[in-house]
Symmetry: C2
Subunit: 333 residues, 2 copies
């Protein structure tokens, strides 16, 4: 008879921790004491500011067994967190994870999830400095907290956009939402790139550093859709933004999915989120310097004092509603 | 007609964030950019190591509406995290919180919870640097992550106990579990101190610094009970520990509750947890230096190489089982 599959309950808290606690350090030169004690000890190099952010993924809200496998979930938890560093022009360096797990969770799921986490930490040279494991009443809840670093005084806030700045995106938006739509419609195989953008999105850590060094002065990552994020920049900067509808970068596959499903792919771009492309604002010279190193699309400009976002199409302006995804309200994402 | 009470769903994600985002900085000199951007930016003073830890509280597991009110939950989330800093001899400095909230949660609960958080942050001079708010399928899940600091090279691990060291506790253990028992039995009013220890436990931040400066070389905080934590020190240090049963400090009220409920209060001390007293090991001179500044109880000694924990009673030794609370196994706490 086959042994019954191990679960979080049968492995116990220490068994769960033991199952995932290996190969944790990908930038050991910064670590004095790794996971396993009450706290982990690390150093911050001189001349650097520290940047901190935290991000949670909830089963049934951010993912289901249908939309993502365990390793995808682990990878995406890292992306969501590391992307916040990229959006400050910082590089992620230290990471801790809290996992609330239902008793029935297969231990194999947990292990696979941490392989996804490990893959992302290896790729971006981030140390896993431990965490917390506890029970959950329903579904998996994972919280990551990342600490990054940025040369002193150079972190790029959302609030730095100034009149005359150009607005840029580091890549297409809407792919992740289009991929999710393809999964829901049982047509994942036809749109592998979109599905991959949903399941294995990439934090633009290197691009964030390039944009910072080039002199981009406002940055935000696309987590809740271009509509919501452009409003964040507009509000924080106290500036009106004008987005040119025809310039918003859409992937070929998103256009194709839009046609196949009868959905305007711009809907995904504006309200879909989880693309993790970076939205930046900066003077033209800064944009030119950055564009020598990374692909950039100019999508509009900063029009002057205000706080609204306008959409320009055929020379006509209309107000863009702030219709990003809200985790509590019952809106369609 | 009275307006219906606002909930997480009716306030929306931004409404929830707005309701709690005020009075966040209690050590502003370390902060360059507070909550509200993709990441918060802070500085770490030269000559300090950084210490990080994360801790989660799950409704239905760590608390219920019966055992704790919202402000208690917020306070205790801070204590659990700050105590991990104390147990490294570090002081907490920066804090971020991720909150997964059910749609029906009253906004008033969330506000009260953050008042508890604010009270702890004010008391221990810790900055609230933001966080994440998202939905939950069942119950509140709160994760705090704390970053602290300690003079370079002086963090106190669990692994530092050496043969001949004395074992010390900074205060009584078992009170929190006894308080919980009193709540369950509907006898909270008879045991106000114990109940307060359960609902408003105190992280021993100042004591941690005193012990570090005095030369205590192993530290752990009592989160899962003295049995579990002493095993942590024994295992990490590779040393056998001997605890003297009669020296284990119990409060008068815990003894009284033990009599009233027919439970040996040592049961609470060994397996109850959430006391947040510090367990330390160090040479006699270090203990004496520390005891000049804070109350300390010597409860035993480090016997030599090994990794087991012995209980001494009337000159006889017996092995102490590692029977602390396990979040997945079905044991009585």
């Amino acid at each position: 008879m086959a042994e019954p599959e191990k679960t979080a309950a049968s492995a116990g808290e220490f068994g769960c921790i033991e199952a995932v606690c290996h190969d944790l350090l990908y930038r050991p030169e910064l670590v004095k004491l790794g996971a396993g004690d009450d706290g982990a000890v690390y150093v911050s190099p001189p001349g650097m500011d520290q940047v901190i952010s935290t991000d949670t993924m909830v089963e049934g809200i951010h993912f289901t067994a249908e939309t993502m496998d365990a390793a995808d979930v682990g990878w995406k938890l890292c992306t969501a967190n590391f992307s916040d560093m990229a959006a400050m022009g910082a590089e992620p360096a230290q990471f801790v994870i809290s996992a609330a797990l239902p008793k029935t969770l297969p231990l194999s799921w947990l292990k696979a999830c941490y392989e996804g986490i490990r893959a992302a930490c290896r790729r971006y040279r981030v140390n896993l400095l431990g965490g917390d494991m506890t029970g959950s009443r329903q579904g998996v809840v994972l919280t990551g907290t990342v600490v990054g670093m940025v040369p002193s005084g150079t972190a790029v806030p959302r609030s730095g956009a100034r009149e005359g700045d150009l607005l840029v995106l580091t890549g297409p938006v809407g792919d992740s939402a289009a991929g999710l739509e393809a999964i829901f419609r049982g047509r994942a195989r036809e749109f592998p790139e979109l599905v991959s953008r949903h399941r294995r999105p990439v934090p633009r850590v290197e691009a964030g550093a390039v944009l910072r060094e080039a002199g981009i002065r406002a940055l935000d990552d696309i987590t809740d859709g271009l509509a919501s994020e452009s409003h964040e920049v507009a509000t924080a900067s106290g500036q009106d933004l004008i987005l040119e509808k025809d310039r918003i970068p859409l992937s070929e596959e998103a256009r194709r999915a839009g046609e196949a499903f009868g959905i305007d792919p711009l809907h995904w771009a504006f309200t879909g989120g989880e693309d993790y492309a970076l939205l930046g604002a900066g003077p033209e010279e800064a944009v030119r310097r950055a564009a020598e190193q990374i692909p950039l699309t100019v999508i509009g400009r900063v029009a002057g004092p205000g706080g609204r976002v306008w959409l320009e199409e055929g020379g006509r302006l209309s107000l863009l509603p702030r219709c990003g995804y809200d985790h509590f309200k019952e809106e369609t994402p």
